[in-house]
Subunit: 342 residues, 2 copies
Amino acid sequence: MLTNRQLQILQAIVDDFIMFAQPVGSRQISKKQEITFSPATIRNEMADLEELGFLEKTHTSSGRVPSEKGYRFYVDHLLSPQGINSRDIQQIQSIFNDRLVEVEHIIRKSANILSELTSYTSILLGPDVQRHRVKRFSIVPLSSDAAVAIIVTSNGHVENRMFNLPPNFTASDLEKMVNILNERLIGESLEDIHKKLEAEVLTVLQQHVQSADDFIRSLVTATMHNSESKIFYGGKTNMFNQPEFHDLNKVRMILDLMETTSQVQSLFHPNESGIHIRIGSENKQLEMENCSVITTTYSIGEEQQGAIAIIGPTRMDYKRVVALLDVMRMDLTQAFTKNRSD
Amino acid sequence: MLTNRQLQILQAIVDDFIMFAQPVGSRQISKKQEITFSPATIRNEMADLEELGFLEKTHTSSGRVPSEKGYRFYVDHLLSPQGINSRDIQQIQSIFNDRLVEVEHIIRKSANILSELTSYTSILLGPDVQRHRVKRFSIVPLSSDAAVAIIVTSNGHVENRMFNLPPNFTASDLEKMVNILNERLIGESLEDIHKKLEAEVLTVLQQHVQSADDFIRSLVTATMHNSESKIFYGGKTNMFNQPEFHDLNKVRMILDLMETTSQVQSLFHPNESGIHIRIGSENKQLEMENCSVITTTYSIGEEQQGAIAIIGPTRMDYKRVVALLDVMRMDLTQAFTKNRSD
DNA sequence: ATTAGCACTCCTCTTAGTTGAGTGCTAACA
DNA sequence: TGTTAGCACTCAACTAAGAGGAGTGCTAAT
């Protein structure tokens, strides 16, 4: 168990290092207002904290730097919840000024403002398209052998895909088909559609339409394709500002990771509410060993969920980011549920 | 006018520098197969070429480096058209293996393959949505005050946008409206729609539907919004490989530029056929003063046009990139016009 | 006209020395 | 007994000096 004084010193060191990105010496700590004891005492405590694994030295005679364990402790026990600046709140509110109707717009704007406010990189996941419910299904023929399938979901998202028509497919075939599909599929979620298409709808269609088999197969692969939630980025190059990323290789690896959808998706904790912090090697990705990722989720309507991640150096301003994400999560949730009800 | 020998030496120097990214000395040139004269002679010629502005020195006793004027001359006069490797051609062909129907897929894949083959960054512009022709117009109501407008274009693109419905808008109003819109707008290009909507369609609608005014306004702003061609990137971080970009600031500026749609769009020469090369400061953007940009266009169907850009260091392998772009342009054009006719 | 030879330049790499921030330990102090 | 002043020690960061080498420009010989 740490003594009060050790807690105080650990906090001071982490705060200081987060601010200045320089190893922190005993003298520097001793000069702080709230510290009443001498550098020598601090040195003794520091040595103890190092032995306990909370601090590290970059070399024998350098100041101390928080270890991952140190950050973890700081985040878990020393992070006094902090209000944020009214100017920041105002800026967040400005996202909702426009009376925009589209979810996508709001999320895009949120990504930009978050990256601006934190000076880190933000990633926002939109609603999971797979869970949207079908509002209308239609097919627009383009030529004798190609058509576009269009699915409008209840919250206004439009999913569309081209596919090939089987030969000898008539306009009346198409019409029948669309009617059947609408009858059967409206109200279902997109992820259920695939199953339904192949199971019940197919047999019904086969009774009415020639070569329904091919058709359904086209349609299934077509609607299945675009299955992930959309991803929005803010401040992709913000990390260039951080001294720990003055290394091209690190930056490159992270930027490359962000181009890979699957990797990005695995940064998140789906279906877990609250704010999650992963520090350095707590991240599964090797590329992220110098980064911390703070994630949270927000609601879109009653069923849908979106997610937010902030990526920064392990020396991230946790206090501020957590506070900002908290506001952001609540505001987005509120905006999207209010939007729904009127 | 340059002598034959000067041409030969200039070419050798540029080729060598493109390959090794190191200032080229007289000895190194003299060792080449095709060079029959001594280092001393080469030094004299080099001094002349420098005086003429084609070469530069990084310091008094360094080898020579091509100046922008040197690259320009090389590109204009010394670039013997070169066939490309059959393996490369094969890889390009692989884009079209899948029998993909969607334009977007092919372009996305092309961007990736181009960046892979060149090891530079590629940017592909899709067709200009504004010039697509309307195939079908429909409106799907979502709630009492919101709806989605959907425009399907003749080549299968789907443009959609949410908008607010005026109060007291009935289902039959909506139906009438959609009918009128389809009557009037099918076959028009998207860019013409805006004008038409405001001019003739508005007056017609006003006769049939209450508060058509508000409605049209919503619709115009809605369809106008998404007006640029889609942009696809390949190999965004490839420039990290180039020694001239081992400078974080340069990389950052270019990456930031690539996030700005308007800046990216201004890299292209719309409506000019052929292959264009802009070297260093010939680019309008200050951020690009160390880059060369090679652009070209391809056709999508009979009316539409897409564009390709490759961004690399001024020390770019012009010969190879030009050859690759030439193949790419023709293959894409062919694929998209063939696609149309069957 | 071409080229061998040579003095000269200047970048790059290495080594040595200096400075200064910071530590750990010991001994004195309250 | 906990705290602190004092001091020797460590090591990164900076500076200066010197060696090596790739390359040039000029001159004189071929």
